[in-house]
């Protein structure tokens, strides 16, 4: 009757990819452990069943999860190839991630807790608390002080904070008129302070903590999200402009004062003059991408392990080496589709909280992807940040699935509200 009945349905492509990927993983390395085949079956079943639940029970957008699964599958294959132990762990994180996705969706779909007004105070307070804990107990890994150890597991609080920030922004823009700010008397004139200053202040506090932690990628990401919110949900063009100028000045002063930033800029402009030192990572990344050609060397047949931190920040370079430029472009296209679905969800919903929250999550996916991919291919200065769904790491994967669950919940509200959109908003 129509094309969706063809054997080439997108979900079957994801499952087929995993099927072949796990067979390849089985033959990779010397162990040929059956364990990985069993895990592969588990992954295939998880994706297949969850997708059908989403479709049959009409849980909103059916493609979000599919696209995320495809990205995760590419990530798992690549990480397993780099280090089978990490790969096994990533598969387990993926399982936990889908559970988090499922629970987030149920919880946010059924309760109004996350959009209730008191949370407008709770979100920033939790964020600041988490930031402080990170600063005090944090461990410095690779320049940035952004990890804390809880029960022997390394957790990166920033991954959660960015979602709290987006929820906060959603609540702020849906409750602006309720926010009370004192009027200021200036030369006898009473001036009412626009509530947008409060939002900006909270945003800059976040930014300040990120700079203190030297989490440059996070700082850039947060600023882009902040800027997108200002642009889309606030009508003060001049304020947007002032913030833009502020960012440029801040960046320039940071460049003058902070050695770290100078190094990043210079290794971006000319990594070749110090290939053995500061330019090492980025040049190794470029060598890897160059080695791949159009179709790549084939999984397991290249040398991506030469790149430092290849399984987290530089995973995209490894994909380009072994799956080629075509593989790399495909990954970018997948993120594009994900962002497209996300924007579509936020365009269709009328409730401002959901609109802003889903928009913020989508913007995180889009900008975070650009910051790290642009960095490893030397299009923009390199700032360490994970590639959503693909990079190795529990914190990153869990928080990304949490965000995806929230997005899914919003898309569900979307189709739910379609039948009574009028009553809901009038």
């Amino acid at each position: 009757m129509n094309g969706s009945n063809s054997i080439f349905k997108p979900v079957r492509m994801v499952l087929l990819f995993n099927f072949l990927a796990f067979i390849l993983m089985y033959f990779y390395g010397s162990e040929n452990s059956l364990n990985v085949l069993l895990l592969g079956l588990a992954v295939i079943f998880t994706i297949g069943i969850l997708y059908h639940i989403i479709k049959v029970y009409d849980w909103g957008d059916e493609y979000l999860f599919l696209i995320a699964s495809m990205l995760c599958s590419i990530g798992i294959l690549m990480i397993y190839r780099l280090d089978p132990d990490y790969g096994i762990r990533q598969i387990k994180w993926f399982g936990l991630g889908t559970a988090v996705f499922f629970l987030t969706f149920i919880f946010l779909g059924k309760t109004k807790f996350w959009s209730s007004k008191p949370m407008i105070y709770a979100y920033p307070l939790i964020s600041i608390f988490l930031f402080s804990v990170t600063l005090i107990f944090g461990q410095r890994i690779g320049g940035a002080k952004n990890w804390i150890e809880i029960f022997g597991i390394n957790v990166q609080p920033w991954e959660i904070i960015k979602l709290l920030y987006v929820f906060y922004a959603g609540l702020f823009f849906s409750n602006r008129e309720l926010i009370y700010l004192p009027t200021v008397n200036l030369k006898g004139k009473a001036i009412k302070i626009n509530s947008i200053f409060l939002f900006s202040l909270i945003s800059y506090v976040h930014l300040g903590f990120l700079v203190l932690q030297r989490e440059w990628g996070g700082a850039v990401l947060l600023f882009l999200i902040f800027f997108s919110f200002l642009y889309a949900f606030d009508n003060h063009r001049s304020f947007l402009f002032v913030n833009g100028v502020f960012a440029l000045v801040g960046g320039f002063v940071g460049y003058l004062l902070l050695d770290h930033i100078q190094v990043r800029i210079w290794t971006w402009i000319d990594p070749w003059s110090d290939m053995a030192g500061k330019g090492y990572q980025i040049t190794q990344s470029l060598f890897a991408i160059g080695a791949g050609g159009f179709f790549g060397t084939g999984i397991g047949l290249g040398n991506p392990e030469i790149i430092p931190e290849v399984h987290t920040d530089f995973i995209f370079s490894a994909i380009c080496e072994e799956m080629g430029i075509f593989g790399g472009v495909a990954v970018v296209l997948l993120y594009f589709l994900l962002v497209y679905r996300g924007i579509k969800i936020s365009l269709r919903i009328d409730n401002i909280f959901y609109k802003a929250a889903s928009f913020g999550i989508t913007a995180i996916f889009g900008f975070q992807t650009f910051i790290i991919i642009g960095g490893v291919i030397k299009l923009v200065p390199l700032t360490g940040i994970t590639l959503p769904f693909i990079s190795y790491g529990g914190s990153s994967l869990i928080s990304t699935f949490l965000a995806l669950g929230a997005l899914q919940a919003v898309s569900m509200k979307n189709s739910f509200s379609a039948s009574k959109v009028v009553e809901a908003d009038e």
């Binding site: 642009y231 889309a232 949900f233 060598f287 970018v332 609109k355 913007a363 650009f370 642009g374």
Partner: protein, 470 residues
């Protein structure tokens, strides 16, 4: 709703970012990649892929000069049957210190990374055959190479022999050398890489030295080209130019001499005066014609020979005319200068690798012969050839003579930083034979020889050419 429109704009912005990434990736792949990948810091260039056996290197007659074998742990060992003999041609191949010379320049071909037929790989894999990289066939004549190193004995220096008609390098040796096996390289790296003797450097192509009197070939060419071939000077053993004294070797006086005579006896007095007469413009133009200050296309990196382009004083000009001063040359380039005279004024592009062969014997690439420089016309070349024949028959190059074969050549004794203190001049000889139908052109360079080109370098060149031609 205005939010929707603005959100759409943000979406368009993110889309533009993504498109930029895709465009830049494609741009990188198509335009930037080649330069980046060939960077010597790219460890991928060194890592011998454990599954594919590195290709062999053979001389022009199929003599194997380098090959690899598998070890038990599927790593590979590179074996050089003639040890030091080819260390400055083939180089070394180490997983730690990378590789050099042909091992480096032909890495892709030898490992088969770029130029191998993948279907052939799969066929071999299924048939259980070894998967191999590609083999290189060199232009080197192994017997001549052996003879050249033998003749060099313990002398520091270099010998280059090539076929002037084709540009094929027949032999290229440099002393002192090193054992290219990777276990030696890896255990002695710190000493050989910092050694004052520069063992790792090929003196034939990477070292530049003052040419001494062999530069008089270029000065003579400039004279012939600018119509000064009838120039006559009264040689009284020495001449003073701007307060600087130029004297002949052994202070010999030759009286009134012409270009041919002055060339064969290598009169400094004559050539210093001739250079003044020529002027720096003519001399510079002629040097450029011969390839000074120009890169030489070759299978290995060759240092440029330097000829000063700054303003010349008369003493600069006189010194340059007799091959002293600040002119610096590589032995390979001097062999090419000899080949220009041998080959009617045309320098063929020199090459070492004549063909790349796939492991099933099919030829992947073959070097085509190309003209490198068009220096002079046949008439000028014939005049120079006559002068060079006279040099060997009656002049300074007598010791290069071969019975029954006419040899053409020019000797040089070059002053250097050790000349005044230790009296250790460099000895040079360039030439070719047989003069009427040249088959071989050579440059012999003996560093800090302490002897003259005629006494030290000429006999080596003569023996080598005789060995090759008989």
């Amino acid at each position: 709703m205005s939010e929707n429109k603005k959100m759409l704009k943000i979406f368009v912005f993110i889309s533009i970012l993504f498109i930029t990434v895709i465009c830049y990736l494609s741009y990188f792949e198509i335009f930037l990649k080649e330069e980046v990948v060939n960077n010597s810091y790219n460890k991928r260039m060194w890592i011998t892929s454990s599954d594919r056996l590195r290709g062999s290197i053979m001389d022009r007659n199929g003599e194997v000069l380098a090959y690899s074998t598998f070890n038990n742990d599927s790593s590979q060992t590179r074996i050089y049957p003639y040890d030091e003999l080819y260390c400055h041609v083939i180089g070394y191949n180490s997983n730690i210190y990378g590789n050099s010379f042909l091992e480096s320049k032909f890495q892709k071909e030898l490992t088969g990374d770029m130029a191998t037929n993948k279907l052939l790989d799969i066929k071999n894999l299924i048939l259980g055959n070894e998967i191999r990289g590609n083999d290189l066939v060199l232009t080197i004549n192994h017997d001549l190479q052996t003879k050249a190193l033998e003749l060099l004995e313990e002398n520091s220096g270099a010998i280059v022999a090539l076929d002037p008609n084709t540009g094929e390098i027949l032999s290229m040796v440099s002393n002192p050398g090193f054992d290219p096996h990777s276990d030696y390289i890896e255990s002695n790296w710190s000493s050989i890489s910092t050694d004052d003797n520069s063992n790792l450097m090929s003196r034939a192509i990477q070292g530049t030295y003052p040419p001494g009197s062999i530069f008089k070939i270029i000065t003579s060419t400039a004279a012939i080209e600018s119509g000064l071939d009838e120039y006559i000077a009264d040689d009284q053993g020495s001449v003073t130019i701007d307060g600087k004294i130029y004297s002949n070797a052994g202070n010999e006086k030759y009286g009134i001499i012409d270009l041919g005579k002055a060339f064969s006896v290598s009169s400094n007095v004559y050539f210093a005066s001739l250079a003044i007469e020529l002027g720096s413009e003519n001399l510079l133009q002629c040097a450029l014609d011969y390839g000074f200050n120009k890169p030489i296309d070759f299978d290995l990196n060759v240092k440029k020979s330097e000829f000063s382009t700054k303003a010349f004083t008369d003493t600069d000009l006189a010194s340059t005319g007799i091959g002293q001063g600040i002119t610096m040359v590589t032995p390979l380039h001097m062999a090419l200068v000899a080949s220009a005279v041998a080959n009617d004024g045309i320098v063929m592009e020199p090459y070492l690798v004549s063909a790349v062969m796939a492991s099933d014997g099919t030829q992947i690439t073959k070097k085509s012969r190309e003209k490198l420089f068009d220096v002079i016309d046949k008439n000028s070349a014939d005049i120079l050839k006559k002068m060079m024949i006279d040099t060997v028959e009656t002049g300074t190059g007598k010791k290069a003579a071969i019975t029954g074969i006419t040899v053409a050549g020019k000797t040089g004794t070059a002053q250097n930083e050790k000349s005044d203190s230790e009296g250790k001049d460099h000895a040079w000889f360039v030439g070719f034979a047989p003069a009427d139908d040249p088959q071989i052109a050579v440059a012999v360079f003996l560093e800090y020889s302490g002897s003259s080109g005629g006494n030290a370098a000429a006999p080596i060149a003569g023996d080598l050419m005789e060995f090759y031609l008989k």
